[in-house]
Amino acid sequence: MRHPSVIARRVAAASVSLVVAAGAAACGPKDNDASSAGADSKPQKGGTLTVLNANPQEDFDPARLYTSGGGNVPSLVFRTLTTRNRENGAAGAQVVPDLATDTGRPSKNATVWTYTLKKGLKYEDGTPITSADIKYGIERSFAAELSGGAPYLRDWLIGGADYQGPYKDKKGLDSIETPDDLTIVFHLNKPEGEFPYLATQTQFTPVPKAKDTGTKYEEHPVSSGPYKVVKNENDGERLVLERNTHWSASTDAERKAYPDKIDVRSGLDSSVINQRLSASQGADAAAVTTDTNLGPAELAKVSGDKALAARVGTGHFGYTNYLAFNPKVKPFDNPKVRQAISYAVDRTSVINAAGGSSLAEPATTYLPDQKSFGYTPYDHFPAGKSGNPAKAKELLKEAGYKNGLSITLTHSNSKDFETSPEIATALQDALKKAGITVKLQGLEDNDYSDKIHSAKTEPGLFLAHWGADWPSGGPFLAPIFDGRQIVKDGANFNTGFLDDKSVNAEIDAINKLTDLDQAAQRWGALDKKIGEQALTVPLFHPVYKRLYGKDVKNIVISDWTGVLDISQVAVK
């Protein structure tokens, strides 16, 4: 997607949404045309892979990164206890062991998780990786200086809520035990069957205490992965990674590490990135991007060019764009009004505004339409392709708004094509047909984030989006619909203020399950049930379409991240 303004682009990354931050994810295409691209010749080691990105790798400290599955570029340097499966499509949404020998051994009703490290793991300087280093790495992420990661460790580990990190609290976190150099045990305050997913995040990267330089660590983090940082300029704008000779492929089944060198150049305008990838000249022939989609304009051009179209990788990342209601604000306290709006939306024009049917798919469920999320199709308030204004009017009449209704839709002013004015305008146009007059309230991005995530200032109707911290219903539903996660004096994500005992109980029940397939099914069913309350109007799921250079081979796109995994890419 095109973000013409740096502001918009940066804020999109920095603000609430999620994961997309910091060179996130990779996952496989459904219709896997991409894997065939590199099939004609076997991928070889060697060469330099160029990464052309819009967003600099500003945070390169494993404690500060907020990634889904360990990120794309960071995952070349940081190994974690577990990691995402580097396979195409749905298989890529599974969690697999990385530093550990398995994905974790639960006990005591999934409140205690034990991991054993593989033997012979080394840092870039040849020193061995120990379980204490992993513990230290996690502890640092609690330091205020190194904030930024996901909230789960704080919420799940016993004593996590009060721990202030190793700089202030030398004693450490008792709920992580390291009985020996290869074993690490986590004690959680409640059952969490999805702990193996969490262990893919960069906070589970080993950090040698002796090498820790606090906020300066990100300038040269110590590598445990196949590449080490040899250059980090301008706050992550230019990164050069070279082979870490102490990394051994025999301990790492996931990362292929074909290129000898990775050259990351970021801070580029998105249209320039796509121009360069399509021109595919010189070093750009061996270039990929991990954060820039094809924009609608470029898509129009690419779709007419077969050679170019063959160099597009398509993927899906668990992500939903939706309209959110605040039922405390009139008239959205009336379910009929919320339903009427659900009927009235025109998903076709919304999708066009978001870049067209190739870049967005209509959504009627809150959960992404992927198996790992336990996708259970439903459409409680069928609006068809372009809205059902008649039904909406009927409902409004029932709700007492015979002569139509006037409401305000709050959106962000940044041009992210997600919560941006373009989408809001499309909705405004559609709701007009149902006799609903929409007044647009565009806020500057920081203002927008402040307002929609504060229980005190949350507007009645606004555009929002949510993405997956890992491919499961848990991190998708719990923060938004778990009544115990309503935050009164801080960032609140339960924007519908839903505090339903049965929903809360079901969330607890699913968290106890360690069979992730079974859990997925139950998440899907819960989503369908919550959907009846019409607290959100799902609009669309984005589709990732990314160009890569003509010499790039071995394209792997998993459903976990939706973009090509650069640990698999070869340029020879």
Binding site: S5, V6, I7, R10, V11, A14, S15, V16, S17, E58, R64, Y66, R140, A143, A144, E145, L146, S147, G148, G149, A150, P151, R154, A161, Q164, G165, Y167, D212, T213, G214, T215, K216, E233, N234, D235, E237, R265, G267, L268, D269, S271, V272, Q275, R276, S278, A279, Q281, G282, E444, D445, N446, D447, S449, D450, P479, V487, D489, G490, A491, F493
Partner: protein, 342 residues
């Protein structure tokens, strides 16, 4: 009488001038920093929340706020900033305490880096962009201006006027993008711009920046063409040109030696000024061409409410604007020695 010889004449008042300008600059920069503190005080965006990350708990946000001293009253924070500027300040990286020597503009909330270091990293980029573009636009602009003053009233002049106006009328993000698509993408004459430090490879430095330079020059040269032309025409109407005509000096010599000389002072003054404002206004082109300069960094810092970086960057760009203005006046006085600095 001899005190008036040569340069010393026009620069006779220089020490006093420099002192007054220096005091003025300090006052200006001081005022700018106060304004920015006030603006950020009222601006939306919870700094601690943004710095901490979206999913931080209120307790964590509070810790971050405490660590960044965000809970202090505004005047205390500003005083702290001033202390940094004049005596330096200490800051913690978590594992150790670092000293940021005066003039210390603080430490970035986001990256924990010293702002002065950030500025030193970005400055060469912006300088490269602006300086190169300036050379080009001076050549293009003054050349066009001379030509149209010479061929005044004829077709050449009208054609040149139209072309230069076309430059003025087009925003850089349109010219730049179209040029990039055509020249770099389709014709592949130039590489897509990326910043190569001059110290690393001067040739690549220039080669990579050529397109941004050209785009900026196309837009800016119009102004210079117009200024050169009108200054020259004005000089041509002056009495001393009449003198040389009355002494049989040819038109070519009058244009080249006398009229053009009259245009030098205003052109120099304008370019010094433009240099200052281009340093501050490079954000558009830096964004478009993906050059990691001051302007882009500033915009980013604004969006993430990274106050120390914003203050630092604005002070630096402001400093260049103020400096450039003073330099413009000095150069003007040097170029036009009838002028006295004050």
């Amino acid at each position: 009488m001899s005190a008036l010889k040569g340069l010393s004449g026009s620069l006779a008042g220089f020490p006093g001038f420099a002192l007054r300008r220096l005091v003025g600059a300090v006052v200006t920069l001081f005022a700018i920093s106060v304004i920015i503190y006030l603006v950020f005080y009222v601006a939306p965006g919870d700094v601690a929340q943004i710095t901490c990350g979206p999913r931080c708990s209120p307790a964590q946000v509070h810790q971050v706020a405490e660590q960044l001293r965000l809970d202090d009253p505004l005047y205390v924070r500003y005083w702290h900033f001033l202390q940094g500027v004049f005596v330096g300040q200490d800051y913690s990286t978590g594992t150790s305490v670092q000293h940021c020597g005066a003039p210390c503009l603080g430490v970035s909330y986001q990256s924990g880096q010293q702002v002065t270091q950030l500025i030193w990293a970005k400055l060469p980029v912006t300088f490269s962009l602006v300086l190169g573009a300036m050379v080009l636009w001076l050549i293009l602009g003054v050349g066009t201006g001379v030509l149209s003053a010479w061929r005044r009233g004829r077709f050449t002049e009208r054609a040149l006027t139209a072309v230069t106006l076309a430059g003025t009328a087009t925003p850089v993000f349109v010219i730049g993008l179209v040029l990039m698509i055509v020249v770099c993408g389709q014709l592949q004459l130039l590489p897509f711009p990326q910043y190569v430090p001059f110290t690393e490879d001067p040739e690549q430095w220039a080669w990579n920046l050529l397109l941004p330079w050209l785009s900026l020059a196309l837009i800016e040269s119009a102004k210079y063409a117009r200024l050169t032309r009108s200054s020259m025409l004005e000089t041509l109407a002056e009495d001393h040109v009449r003198t040389f005509r009355a002494y049989g000096v040819g038109e070519r010599s009058i244009i080249g030696r006398h009229a053009l000389r009259g245009a030098v002072a205003p052109v120099i003054a304008l370019s010094a000024n433009d240099f200052g404002s281009a340093i501050g206004g490079a954000v558009l082109s830096e964004t478009l061409f993906g050059l990691p300069g001051l302007g882009r960094e500033l915009v980013h810092a604004v969006t993430v409410v990274d106050l120390p970086v914003v203050v630092g960057m604005v002070l630096v760009t402001g400093f260049f604007v103020v400096l450039a203005n003073a330099v413009a006046d000095v150069l003007f006085a040097v170029a036009d020695r009838r002028v006295v600095l004050s």
